[in-house]
Amino acid sequence: MSGKNVRAKADGLTEVSMKINGRAYRGEVEPRTLLVYFLRDELNLTGTHVGCDTGHCGACTVVMDGKAVKSCMVLAVRAKGAEILTVEGLAHDDRLHPVQVAFTENHGLQCGFCTPGLLLSTLTLLQRNPHPTEEEIRRGIEGNLCRCTGYVNVVRSIRAAADSMAKQEVRGRS
């Protein structure tokens, strides 16, 4: 992994590069710049939201090297060389990802503020555990707070996403 031996002065800028949604990005950041602000303010990838900004709400969740992380608790310099997936990378050619379709069809959102984070937590949950129980679903989204729907429809959406992704998998194999 690159990123070894970085020495960055507090007042200076340091160059970071990372792959986001399959595309290479490069930018200059202060050591204290958090990943979420690099994504939003430098790269204009504003789908990743800032909710509480103290690590509780999960609205800023992105996938870093295959794992869901809260981008408000990761330094941009730390993400140097990483592969990042944000909500902007879920759909392909205007075709929504099955997780997005499931949330849309099952009323898994109202205001939508927490949705980008929930979609990415759902994706990593289902990648690890394609057929989660309700308890496993609820545990998987512990780190994502929603203030509108009360989770009933979110859980329903995740179930539906699991089903449609499993069907897709079967179709993919045949």
Partner: protein, 296 residues
């Protein structure tokens, strides 16, 4: 929220990291960052330099040694939770890491970072105290090993010197016939504990007498503590419902929990008793004991 400015170093060796700490009196070690970065954003911490050890090679292993389990300091909570040996043989450690924060926090947070943070309401300190873990610290002068009872010194204060780095946790294998458990009370799943209790019970060959018991609790003072009186009471006694209940009563002897916004002193004392009973019951069922005591 944005942290105060700091110099950032990402050293390529442990020696270099230790040297950087020596050269920067106000530096802090950054590992997973899941405790330190929120504190820095709230400006409750403002180190002038961060020494990021998260990419150091060779500190992310779980190895079963002859008489202990060695866990590298940079292993994430998620990796500990999904390790088969931990699950099978160190149930209380598995219980504890599974209750830390949420999935995103467990994905980045490291066991070394969590214990060095020294939060008295955290999950691992209590579990590791009861597991009688050893802490391997490395500094300029080489390695030293700190026993479980000496690692946590005060609130947010550990035995780790400014220019030392925790590199490994050593968790001794539990004696044959043992079961262990960690239980926690919090209002929301990802919250810190209002009270937490860890236990290890070793049952005699007769399948009903207590050979040895370890009980520890946290979030009830500046550091986690062992419940010496309850441990002593259990030794040599039959592990029935009445004995467990009496041990739970004695568990809070020596406890001095604070009253704060999360719970009053009285409430915490009560919760320690309740959790002691539950934790002992779970540990006993894991030791293979069935019956009323194990179902508490």
């Amino acid at each position: 929220m944005i942290p105060k400015k700091f110099d950032y170093y990402s050293p390529s060796s442990l020696q270099e990291a230790i040297r950087l700490l020596r050269q920067n009196g106000e530096a802090k070690v950054l590992a997973g960052g899941q405790s330190l970065l929120p504190l820095m954003k709230l400006r409750l911490a403002a180190p002038t330099a961060l020494v990021d050890i998260s990419r150091l090679a060779g500190l992310s292993y779980i190895r079963d040694e002859v008489d202990y389990l060695a866990i590298g300091a940079l292993v994430t909570h998620d990796a500990v939770e999904h390790d088969g040996t931990v699950k099978d043989r160190f149930a209380l450690i598995n219980d504890a890491v599974a209750r830390i924060g949420d999935q995103q926090v467990r994905n980045l947070g490291t066991i070394g970072g969590s214990v060095c943070h020294g939060d008295p309401a955290a999950d691992l300190p209590t579990a590791l105290l009861v597991a009688e873990a050893r802490y391997v610290l490395e500094g300029e002068g080489g390695k030293r090993i700190v026993p479980a009872r000496e690692f946590f010194v005060d609130i947010f204060t550990t035995a780790v010197g400014h220019d030392e780095i925790l590199t490994e946790l050593q968790i001794p294998h539990l004696p044959p016939g043992s079961g262990s458990a960690y239980t926690k009370h919090s209002l929301r799943e990802s919250d810190f504990a209002i009270a937490n209790v860890g236990t290890v019970v070793t049952v005699e060959g007769d399948g009903k007498t207590c050979k040895e018991a370890r009980i520890g609790f946290g979030s009830a003072g500046p550091t986690p503590l062992r419940a010496a009186s309850a441990e002593q009471y259990l030794r040599g006694r039959p592990l029935d419902e009445a004995t467990i209940a009496e041990a739970a009563e004695r568990a809070t002897e020596g406890a001095n929990p604070p009253s704060d916004v999360h719970g009053s002193r009285e409430y915490r004392l009560k919760m320690i008793k309740v959790l002691t009973q539950r934790s002992l019951g779970l540990a006993l069922s894991r030791a293979g004991l069935t019956g009323s005591a194990a179902e508490l």
